[in-house]
Assembly symmetry: D2
Homo-oligomer: 277 residues x 4
């Protein structure tokens, strides 16, 4: 028996679960887990189910689409490790966390390559037998550098691009190449402290908690749909550098958790929000 | 259109959701929210749905039971405020929290009475126009006191009995009168620090977090199914009395949250665990 | 033997602790606890000590000031319950939490009065034998209403004014009457979601954590020095009203904790930040 | 100017701070930060200060000891990176976290070697140019294996031995070789779930939070002085393997935080508790 993950997103209407479970039942599939959510404001229906049994993916999706409202987005795929690509700059805490998990087999993904705009992480990455692609931004316009990065990315096949402290602002053009596929970690609890050096901003505001936010990247800086967030306590004794150091554990955990959810197909983008099952 | 909450607990087998959603659909009911869970270890199926439409509760449950495995527990009831009774001793923080919420209409329940083994809370309770029943334990055996309390309880109709820091150990006989209906707040993160004065135990062990646990009461002290837990940080400067003071906010929040879940019919007892939707 | 709290804030220089402890020792006082902090950026020294023994407060402060840099702010007072006044509007969760604690003697303060711009809380407050002062804002300009409130406040003596969900924006003129004495609870983790209906803002942004912030009030809305903050998790199933309901527990705990710290003389305002011992 | 950390632990008596600050002042040292704590129950005084200036460490300690109660433990040393040794078994999450930090220079320590009772981590460790010492336990009694491990340890100089998921129970004899120098991570919030497979224990008890505890190791299993603890939420959908996976992030953060505190000389062992500055 194989295991599949079924995801459905469509306009809400009466009888959806009945129609879907009818088809699941007639295909002699077992529902291992099942989650549904109706966004009443936007009248949208979301469902994720883990199924066991045997099915032909495209045929099964077609049968479902036939009974669902037009415009329904249906996907069904065997549970497998996905391919991801990582973009980084100089800091190793988020990247290193993923490398260690990858190395032990705990990460539910294959890391196909790491791209960076500095060379400092090269040695670390190559120790894990992962291709390291250095794309210097020096002397290049933002657009020219992105072109070079996109060029490298196009050599690889991947489901998600993970920005593991990639300290470059992306243009809408770049993002448009990988819609809903880029996951970023921002080092503040958004929407507080958008932009540069959030730890310094937090220090100057005198906050008592700092945090991190993992989100899908869209065309507006730090405004994409939020996946996960967490915070840690800080106090008056801490400089902004102390906050930065303390914040790193938060950053890597938040990114790792968001990525785990993505890799298990638990996320739906719903306008500018994320539905998580 | 009315709103109902449907709860189903039964042995797991293929096609349950199909059969249930078929009946829901044929009764022209709208599923507002829907949660399912399969306990694979015990092969049990749990489901909670919020339905809107019109139905005859007992007829509807009967129709469902007819297509479900034998032994299925099905309940369906209109969304309404439930009646609760509160047992307390001397401390007012958990009780007071419920009184304030009751008074503002925020509590999803009617408090039919407060029973206490001390008189100190009488003035507070009566200010909220709630009957206060003083049942002194003085000079009574545990059994005789419980008999007196049960006697008072039998005058009232209620869905849940809430032990809001009721500092008496209950006998299995007492508990048997209200199976799965008694919710207690224990002032530690169970299973640590079972029994008397957990804050003192925590102080003496030198822990860096303390907590609180809301649980259903069964025949074994502090071993009933856990509903909610939370913790707070403590440090070396704190005496056990400081921990006790700090822990009160945790206790009242944990109890309030557990009670909210119970009042919205979100809890299923599954052996010694609680399934929460 | 009496117990005193000594607070010192002055420009930092070498030998401060030596000079202070010399005077403490010569006055035969016992240091029960002692905390110091040097803000290196602003070159400021902060100290709080709990002393036991016998002393003349003003004489003792004078002796200390004589050896400290000019401009030193020194206070020393016996540990006692402080007087506070509460301002509220319609919601009872923060107010009620303080009333319950006051009633049990747990609150380290006397509540001298509650002032509100609506009458809805009158019955609750009066049940606790606390004067309720209704100052309607109807038909009044902001300035005229504040004048009326200030008029009522001037009848009472108090150390802190606690805004327990007082839903009126204060003018700088109002705040100037009670500098560093007004403590507010804002229903978001500042600086996110400044202004009106932060829960709706949070819902619309799709955040996964919401929070609350207690802060001293200064002339800029929601920009005063932050005392305490905390957060809770939210999810895609929650409407903004659900977030508001869930956030109330967070709000009342954050305000209560900030007030406890203020009442124990643990706070120093340091520019736009708060040093907490 | 150099930077030193001064630590003092002695019987409490009047005038200690005066006497200490007198000597600090006369040595023309600047106090950068200063923390004191008096354990009133045990009448013990604890102090940690960061000093800048120039001093002769042993002379300075001697001068202080001369004015402190007999039995005072005084240490003063320049701020430097300490040497640590790591013991591990098969899991790489805690070890890997330290390796990544070490590699980036963020860890305030040099890792002199990793000792393991399995060979699986060899490749990972050697990629970081750190000696890996494999000491198989196969066919050996507990005592014989410990003898072999102690033998390897004796080749290295280190301040702390970090048990990064070293899944061997230590005998009192082993621990006695490194009193107050061994830091362990236990995968539960102690004192709950002492012993083997705490995640399975947690799953079976049906708790709603799980956690991790870093502690100094003493002769009693899982009963040493606790340094740091943290928890994460779990739910009914999680198997004990899910809890184990989720708990790993908690484990590595808790261990890393405890180690940071130890490396900055912020810990004092006070009977079976830890004072943290």
């Amino acid at each position: 028996m194989s295991e599949y993950i079924l995801k459905i997103k469509c306009a809400d209407e009466k009888g959806l679960i009945y129609r879907i479970s009818d088809i699941v039942f007639k295909n002699r599939l077992n529902i291992q887990t099942n989650n549904e959510f109706v966004d009443k404001q936007n009248k949208m229906f979301f469902m994720r189910a883990e199924l066991s049994g045997e099915l032909n993916e495209s045929e099964f999706c077609g049968t479902l689409e036939a009974v669902l409202p037009s415009g329904a987005v249906v996907s069904c795929a065997k549970k497998t490790k996905k391919d991801i690509i990582i973009l980084a700059t100089k800091e190793s805490h988020c990247l290193g966390d993923l490398l260690i998990k990858f190395d032990s087999g705990e990460l539910n993904a294959n890391i196909v390559a790491v791209i960076a705009n500095h060379e400092i992480l090269k040695s670390l990455v190559e120790r894990f037998n992962i291709p390291f692609e250095f794309v210097s931004a020096e002397g290049l316009s933002r657009e020219a550098h992105e072109e070079a990065v996109l060029n490298v990315m196009s050599k690889y096949s991947f489901k998600y691009a993970v920005l593991a402290k990639y300290m470059r602002i992306l243009t809408p053009n770049f993002v448009a190449h990988y819609p809903n596929q880029i996951i970023n970690i921002h080092h503040s609890f958004l929407p507080a402290f958008i932009g540069a050096n959030p730890y310094k901003q937090a220090y100057e505001r005198g906050v008592k908690i700092i945090g991190a936010t993992a989100h899908f990247v869209n065309e507006n800086l730090d405004e994409g749909p939020i996946i996960t967030q967490d915070v840690i306590n800080v106090n008056h004794e801490m400089s902004w550098q102390d906050m930065q150091r303390a914040g790193r554990a938060c950053e890597k955990n938040v990114l790792a958790k968001a990525l785990d959810l993505a890799l298990e197909d638990r996320l739906f983008i719903n306008e500018n929000k994320v539905v998580i099952f």
